[in-house]
């Protein structure tokens, strides 16, 4: 359809700004603004603008879903399975329903299609739910529900689940109803044997046998990564109000418009009758992308009770049943010639997403390096554990831990510097530059041979690369409203989950209109406004800033027409700067913003723009999602100190060199990158969901025993941001959230190797594992 629209040709800045810019010509839709100048020539974009909601958050005024209290609101509680695998022999909700103050009770677990009795597959799986006048009453009522469970054999660990005699999680085709972990490589038509599903072999190519035959050096190793949980500070939360004309929902979500679509489908309501709001959201990291069982449960309870219902997870519910990053066991072999060129990469991976599928390890091995023969076989292993879901750089974060250590190991065998080897095998000019900048900043020339330090505490340096794609949501729109009193509003259902997209919208609009960001009223997180993109897949800024700029430009053109007709000049002669509209060729003829908007014929004018295709086209698309580039990267360097007598690893410094197209708010990007690095340090050293293999329970379902990095464990983090212009859209901005997390653990592992001369192939790298790896512990490995 877009092809039929009139287009025009424009010249865009192109390349890495700090190396000098070229130009590139693109054909763009006629109703989109002219190319945006490089950041150096702009006043709002590319500047460190303070967060639009900072004050509200710091003072506590920000409204999170957990703060929403509606008149007559009831409180939900969920009865959860105490067993990892059980058949429900009988379920009697009536004693709970009979308790005064309980207004709705329902069964959550679904019966299988054949009408057989219901089966539960993990500890914490919802069985039933109810809504009552108070939280305490709801908890008390739960205890009245009578359930008779028939315990069934279960398995929660990856090894156990792969044994021939393992208890089977899905004995029939029921796995097809299991949730998808939302990972990129979750094709649905893969074979399943026992608990093992796969292989997914996307990206495989060439003849792996020939590749290894041509190799002069081969490295191989097995790498394990743990299950990590999202640990959002605001738990999953929803307040649902079912009423006669439809449904009102407040939800702590990464995707208001998506939740609306899911609710409309599930409850058979028109889209227009479902309203979803998320004013402030306390983190998501992938776990708040969907309506989820808990969300549907709250809505169903509200419909039943005819009253608003609030459902908020406790921390243990968060930890056991709101998603996680799937585990992996990766068998990696790499073959190369003496000059470093790769001849073959073989990866066999097994990962568990619990009862979900999609535990792949991403496209690191198939897409990061030049290699003619690649075999990628990725298997899901079902276990009786809570379902995984997407989590910050899903797949590639696990994949990087193996691949980037394998490449370093190869470099050592080739007697090459790890950076020099990557110069040979990595086709990306952007990452080459990132390696150069990172090496300079960390002081790579100080890097010693492995284990060179004397004394028990040894220092080391390492680096790793990441791979992610520049994603775009094409179903993304933005409205600009200009009022006669001069007020400007930018509206979209896009939600700010802490990433700062509200600030970014204000900057983009202010830049276009010659105003200040604080002049722009940001109204987002409400599906009454045009549908915005999700806050996942690192695609929010890339999807919503181009339509925001386009709409602002269209509004500006309309305002210029209004002023031009008063002045009886050609609107083309007008421009706006610092709140004044003037003639380009005669700046003394000017009018203030307020006086200009007063010339409008009506009280309010409005423009709505949607996300058009990237000017150079997309590499792929599926549904509303499209991909502009598949090598949005980033390179990270780490410096560590390892105490070889205690096994303690201290990460002292991380240098993160990242690119995201045009940076719009460097301050916020830096903060995103720091968050990504912190999450990576935490993943590298501490975090681990621990399930008891004999009971199936999570042993650390709180934030004391589930360990996250704290202030003392935080390294010095330096962020270096590239300005990379491609001329792809009206803003040329892409995402940063996920790439910032992918390389960290691998960079730390490579630094640890450089420090102690022993490879840590299992996450998290705890003191116990380090001592074992160093041979300090008599007795079997941990």
């Amino acid at each position: 359809m877009e092809d039929e629209l009139p287009r025009r040709r424009e010249k865009f800045p192109f390349g890495l700004a700090h190396l000098g810019l070229d130009e590139v010509e693109r054909e763009i839709p006629a109703d989109e603004p002219p190319p945006l100048a490089p950041n150096a020539e702009l006043t709002q974009i590319g500047k460190d603008i303070r967060r639009w909601d900072a004050r509200n958050k710091v003072t506590g005024a920000a409204l999170y879903t957990v703060d929403v209290h509606l008149p007559g609101m009831l409180h939900a509680a969920v009865l959860r399975s105490p067993l990892p695998h059980a058949r429900i022999r009988s379920l009697d909700l009536s004693p709970a329903a009979a308790l005064p103050g309980v207004h709705a009770v329902l069964t959550v677990v679904e019966p299988p299609a054949d009408g057989a009795s219901m089966v539960l597959r993990y500890v914490g799986q919802p069985v039933a739910a109810l809504a009552a006048d108070t939280p305490a009453l709801a908890e008390a009522a739960l205890r009245l529900i009578r359930v008779e469970y028939e315990p069934l054999p279960f398995v929660v660990d990856l090894d156990g689940a792969r044994r021939a005699d393992a208890p089977i999680v899905y004995p029939d085709s029921e796995w097809q109803k299991s949730p998808s972990a939302g990972l990129p490589a979750a094709a649905s038509d893969l074979p399943i044997t026992g608990n093992i599903r796969g292989p997914e072999s996307k990206g495989s190519r060439g003849d792996i046998g020939a590749g290894f035959a041509a190799a002069e050096i081969v490295v191989d190793g097995t790498y394990d990564t743990q299950v990590q949980t999202h640990c959002c500070l605001e738990p999953h939360a929803i307040v649902a109000a079912w009423h006669e004309d439809g449904l009102d929902v407040w939800m702590s979500t990464q995707f208001t418009a998506g939740v609306r679509a899911q609710l409309a489908r599930h409850f058979q309501l028109p889209l227009s009758r479902v309203r979803v709001r998320a004013e402030a959201v306390g983190g998501g990291f992938g776990s708040k992308s969907q309506i989820g069982v808990y969300g549907r449960t709250a809505v169903a309870l509200s419909r039943l009770a005819k009253a608003p219902v609030r459902l908020v997870h406790r921390r243990d519910e968060e930890q056991m049943d709101s998603g996680n990053r799937s585990s992996s066991e990766q068998h990696l072999r790499i073959g190369a010639r003496r000059d470093g060129t790769l001849t073959a990469i073989s990866l066999h991976s097994y990962g568990s997403a619990g009862i979900a599928f999609g535990a792949g390890v991403g496209n690191m091995v198939t897409a990061l390096y030049r290699c003619p023969h690649v075999e990628s076989r990725q298997y899901d292993v079902f276990t009786h554990a809570g379902p995984a879901c997407a989590m910050r750089g899903p797949g590639n974060t696990q994949g990087a831990f193996a691949l980037e250590q394998g490449i370093d190991e190869l470099a050592e065998k080739l007697a090459m510097d790890p950076l020099a080897l990557r110069d040979v095998i990595d086709p990306s000019p952007v990452r080459r530059e990132e390696r150069r900048m990172g090496a300079e900043s960390i002081g790579w020339t100080r890097c010693q041979p492995p284990g060179a330090d004397q004394g028990p505490v040894k220092r080391g340096m390492g680096m790793a690369q990441s791979l992610w794609s520049a994603n775009v949501q094409t179903n993304a729109a933005c409205e600009l409203r200009l009022w006669r009193d001069g007020r400007v509003e930018v509206l979209s259902s896009v939600q700010d989950i802490g990433t700062g997209v509200g600030t970014v919208l204000a900057q983009v609009v202010a830049e276009e209109l010659g105003l200040q960001p604080e002049d722009i009223q940001v109204r987002i997180g409400d599906t009454e406004f045009p549908s915005g993109p999700p806050s996942y897949g690192s695609r929010t800024t890339a999807s919503i800033t181009p339509p925001a700029r386009t709409a602002a430009w269209q509004i500006k053109e309309a305002l210029f027409r209004s002023v031009a007709s008063a002045w009886q000049v050609d609107p083309q002669r007008l421009t706006v700067q610092d709140g004044w509209i003037h003639l380009r060729d005669a700046p003394q003829q000017r009018i203030s913003w307020q006086e200009a908007t007063a010339t409008l014929r009506t009280d309010r004018i409005s423009a709505v723009a949607g996300r058009s295709d990237d000017y150079a086209g997309f590499r792929s698309r599926s549904g509303d999602a499209a991909m502009a580039l598949n090598d949005l990267g980033g390179v990270q360097f780490a410096e560590v100190a390892v105490d070889t007598e205690t096994g303690v690893i201290r990460v002292e410094r991380v240098v993160a060199v990242q690119d995201c197209g045009r940076p719009i708010n460097p301050l916020q990007i830096e903060s995103q990158v720091q968050g990504g690095v912190l999450m990576g340090v935490s993943y590298a050293l501490l975090e681990e969901r621990i399930l008891d293999i004999h009971t199936g329970w999570m042993l650390n379902p709180n934030l004391v025993d589930y360990k996250l990095t704290g202030a003392w464990d935080t390294p010095q983090i330096e962020v270096i941001l590239l300005e990379n212009y491609q001329g792809f859209s009206a803003t040329d901005a892409y995402g940063i959230a996920e790439p910032a997390n992918i390389a960290t653990a691998a960079a730390i592992a490579n630094a640890v190797y450089n420090a102690i001369g022993v490879r840590m192939r299992s996450l998290p790298m705890t003191p116990a594992k380090v001592l074992h790896a160093l041979g300090a512990v008599s007795g079997g490995p941990h």
Binding site: P82, V123, A136, R143, P456, E645, T646, G647, V648, L685, L686, I690, D692, I693, H694, T695, W697, L699, N700, V704, D705, K707, T709, G710, A711, W712, D713, T766, P767, A768, L771, H772, A776, V777, S778, G779, H782
Partner: protein
């Protein structure tokens, strides 16, 4: 969490008279009467108590709050140099006390390394010594283990990475108190007030109970007894002490292994007396007696320290996942012995 009543104690004696059970006793009976518990329990800073209540491990009918009782506050020094630390003294106060940092450096260091600044501001020494262990099975209402009156220890065949390497038969908790490691090295005593009004003073070493003696409690506190103070005997001028620990996180975490060393060196640099206590190693702070014996009369240098580290492991019976604690403990002992010998009293003062 269930609803409960709250009562402000007006005196230690009143608190003692009101309290019906120890927290350990209340946890034992919880399994049979999960909701309607009749227990009246004592609460100081409430850090551990609140945790236990949130997990549904105790559901007291009433809490008796002693946290405002002036007579249980503060540190006082006797004319002989002995110290009395009131049970309500917070870990933060202990860590910051200038006198204590001089005379009992290891205790101040241990207090300073426990938990996090916020918790140390709230956590009392009495409550710290009486907090329940961190074994994650004990802390999970779903696991009715031996220590809670059940018939099974889940840790033995389960995940025991953080558990005890000494005296771990039957139940393998490690004692959770960081200050206790140092207190034992100083031969501290606890002062207890009985509901009938008697006060008794018990050496800390006798106060703690190993699983082989009683699986259901970590100490001999009787129902209604209030811990009023901790006494530290006077220190010899030449005493040097140090506390070292290793944890996975720098704060907000319990140690994986810890050691407190108190050493008396004579002018010739010979060790007259040493007490070496291991933390996070056993169900009670664990005296490394063989290491102590080895150092007595010896000159302190790299080799003796190394030997002390090895000797400290005597009798260890590591479980499937915690053998790493042995090299860790040995290294800590060696380092602490050397540090105690070579460094002035207060090497880590901020």
């Amino acid at each position: 969490m269930e609803a409960f009543q709250w009562q402000q104690a007006r005196s230690p004696a009143e608190a003692a008279a009101l309290v019906t059970q120890t927290t350990a006793e209340a946890m034992l009976t919880l399994h049979d009467t999960p909701i309607a518990q009749q227990a009246i329990l004592v609460k100081a800073g409430g850090v551990d108590m609140l945790d236990l209540m949130k997990e549904g491990l105790v559901n007291p009918l009433r809490l008796v709050d002693v946290s405002r009782l002036a007579e249980l506050q503060g540190i006082s020094r006797g004319s002989d140099g002995s110290l009395r630390i009131g049970a309500l003294t917070t870990l933060a106060q202990i860590a910051a006390d200038t006198g204590l940092r001089q005379s009992h450096a290891a205790l101040a260091q241990a207090a300073a390394m426990a938990a996090s600044p916020q918790i140390r501001n709230r956590a009392t020494l009495g409550g710290n010594l009486l907090q329940r262990p961190r074994c994650w099975y004990l802390r999970s209402a779903a696991h009715h283990c031996l220590r809670k009156g059940g018939g099974h220890c889940f840790a033995f065949a389960g995940d025991n990475r953080y558990h005890a390497v000494f005296a771990n038969h039957g139940c393998a908790i490690v004692h959770p108190s960081t200050p206790a490691t140092a207190l034992l090295a100083f031969h501290a005593q606890v002062e207890l007030l009985h509901p009938q009004g008697q006060r008794r003073q018990v050496p800390l070493e006798d106060f703690f109970v190993l699983p082989e003696a009683d699986m259901h409690r970590e100490n001999i506190l009787a129902a209604g007894e209030i811990l009023t103070a901790v006494w530290l005997p006077p220190q010899i001028q030449t005493n040097r002490s140090i506390y070292f620990q290793v944890a996975e996180r720098e704060a907000f975490d319990w140690p994986l292994a810890a050691v407190a060393v108190v050493m008396d060196l004579d002018a010739a640099g010979l060790c007259q007396e040493a007490s070496i206590v291991l933390g996070a190693a056993a169900p009670a702070p664990w005296r490394a007696r063989q290491a102590e014996a080895l150092l007595r009369g010896a000159a302190i240098h790299g080799e003796t320290a190394e030997a002390a580290g090895e000797a400290a492991l005597a009798g260890a019976t590591p479980l499937a996942q915690n053998a790493y604690k042995l090299p860790l403990l040995a290294a800590l002992v060696r380092r602490a012995v050397l540090a105690a010998a070579a460094l002035p009293q207060d090497p880590r003062a901020p």
